[in-house]
Structure formats: C-alpha cells, structure tokens
Symmetry: none
Subunit: 159 residues, 2 copies
DNA sequence: TCGATATGAATGAATG
DNA sequence: CATTCATTCATATCGA
C-alpha cells in the first residue's frame, strides 16, 4: 500500500496554505480506487468482527491463562511461555498489547529515538526490555504489515 | 464512516466527463484522513485475521456449524479451512522433487523474489502453493543443510 | 496415548 | 528499508 500511496501523491502539489482555494489534488478515478479500498476493508472488518464476537461468546477463557484481565482477548494472541530461559527477547503479552496499540496509533510511521526511549521506559514497567528490542520490534512489525498487505492485495483485488 | 464519506463527497463536482482536465476534487487534508482510514483498516484487518486464525486453531474440536458461505471471503484472506482439520502446507512428492533439484542446482545463487515467483508458478501446476511456502521452504532447507554439515564437522573432528 | 523426530511457519536480531 | 539468519513454536507422522 505504501507504494501506491506514494504514487498517489505524485500529482499532489506541495500543500501550500490555501486561502479557501481548492487545488486539484486527486482525479476522480483515484478517488474511486480509494473508495473501493475503504469499502473492501469495511466489509472485511465487519465480517471479522462478527467472527470475533462469536469467538469471545464461546471462549471467554482462552487467552486468559496468564491472568491479565486488562488484556483484550484480541491482543492476547502472541502469548509466550515465560518460564523457559530464552536467548532472545520476547515481549510479554502486556508489552505486546502496548506495542500493537502504539503501532496502530502511529499508523505504521517510523519512530524517533526519543519516542523509542519513551516507549522503552513504559514497557520496562512490565518486563525487561531494551531500546534495541523496541526498535527492532517496530522495524519487524512494519515489514510484517507490509508483507501482509501485499497478500491482501493479491487476494482482494477482485472487490 | 459512511457519514464522513458523504460529507467528503459534498465538495465533489458531479463527475462530468473530463477531457484530460483535472478538476479540484479533494483537499490534501481530506486525503490525509482517507489515508489514515485505510491504514487503520489494514491493521485492524490484520489483527482480526490473526485472531480468527487462532480461533480456528483452537476450535478444532468443535463442530463448526458456522461454516456458511459468508465465511468464504475470510478464507480468501489467508485463514485456513473452517470445517476440516487445520492444515499446514506440505509439498507433494513432485513438488518436493522439483524443490530439491532446484536447491542442488542453485547452491550459491541468491533467490530473488522473481525467482520465487517463477518457482511458485511451476510448483502450482502440481498442487496448491504460495510464494511464502516456497520462500519458507528454501529458508528451512538452507538451515537443514547447514545443520547437517555442522554435524558432519563435529564427527570428523574426532578423527 | 505418549514421546521423538521432521518440518512449515513466526519472529527477534543482524547485515547491507 | 530489504534480506537473511538463528531460534523457537506448532503440527504432522510414526513407532512402541
């Protein structure tokens, strides 16, 4: 999606302050593409939300083994064992939830070092973590998002 | 969202046929809103699909009378089969032979995404397969090869 | 049913 | 950021 977003902006002027004047920034065809994308995601989300509801209706207990009631079941998917010694860092469920939320809020944008430091401090309250861990996580998360978006594209382009 | 879409269209002209001329149809601010919406839906969909997958994985034992046609779009998004057992991809004997041959032949050449795509298309003639499957296979095959040579090393060291 | 092994897949970390 | 590696998890298969 990033790629097409970029190409979409090619025709956009530098965004000068407009005094009530509207500049030509998108063709109608481009708008149609955008609307189709939004509609597609709307439908997909609605269907998945329905699934989710029936899911939690039947399986309230799943994902709660670690006893963190504040954790949305939707977010409690990457839970890992804490017991065994591990050589590489793995986010705790709480940390994962925080990270995922931040990722959504930031819309996948790159973080500055200051932001990384803040996030690291916040996460540190829920388990050991370094700034490198956070940095790597966001980097890998973006890659994951991108890869999955590509898969979406190839499978939903019929919509 | 419907509401905001409508309000967004208020400033759009009636969509007269344009002879190569671009009409002012959206401001940059509006585009930004749209982009954020799309990104948000992308990420939400990803998370919901993940939830859905884990749901299916744990639901293995329950009769899935929910397997109605309306779920088909979900399956198209990468989720596995609903009614039958969960399955992970496994190469057919023919596919495996092709992959092994390619692995021996191409020992050293870097496999670009183009190569992966070609190989996927070839394998697809002998059974369902995705590019990710092929990519993972080569990755795991390399690891396997490396581990074996390491074992060989340790055995010859004692001589 | 219970390990034991093989292997597809996910992901933290490293490299270019 | 794109690729790749190293490690780990999950599942399929098999034999006792």
């Amino acid at each position: 999606m990033d790629e097409r977003e970029r190409s979409r902006n090619n025709g956009v002027s530098g965004g000068g302050a407009n005094g009530g004047l509207v500049y030509p920034v998108m063709t109608e065809e481009q708008i149609q593409i955008l609307r189709h994308q939004i509609v597609a995601y709307t439908i997909i989300s609605e269907q998945l939300v329905q699934m989710y509801k029936s899911f939690i209706a039947q399986q309230d207990f799943i994902g709660m083994e670690l006893g963190n009631p504040s954790c949305d079941p939707l977010m409690a998917l990457g839970a890992r064992k804490i017991s065994s010694r591990r050589h590489r860092w793995a986010p705790t469920p709480v940390q994962l939830q925080i990270l995922e939320n931040l990722f959504i809020q930031g819309s996948g944008t790159t973080r500055t070092k200051e932001k990384i430091k803040e996030i690291t401090n916040e996460l540190a309250q829920h388990g050991p973590v370094t700034e490198s861990n956070v940095y790597n996580w966001f980097q890998n998360r973006r890659a994951k998002s991108k890869k999955r978006s590509a898969q979406f594209q190839s499978k939903t382009e019929s919509i």
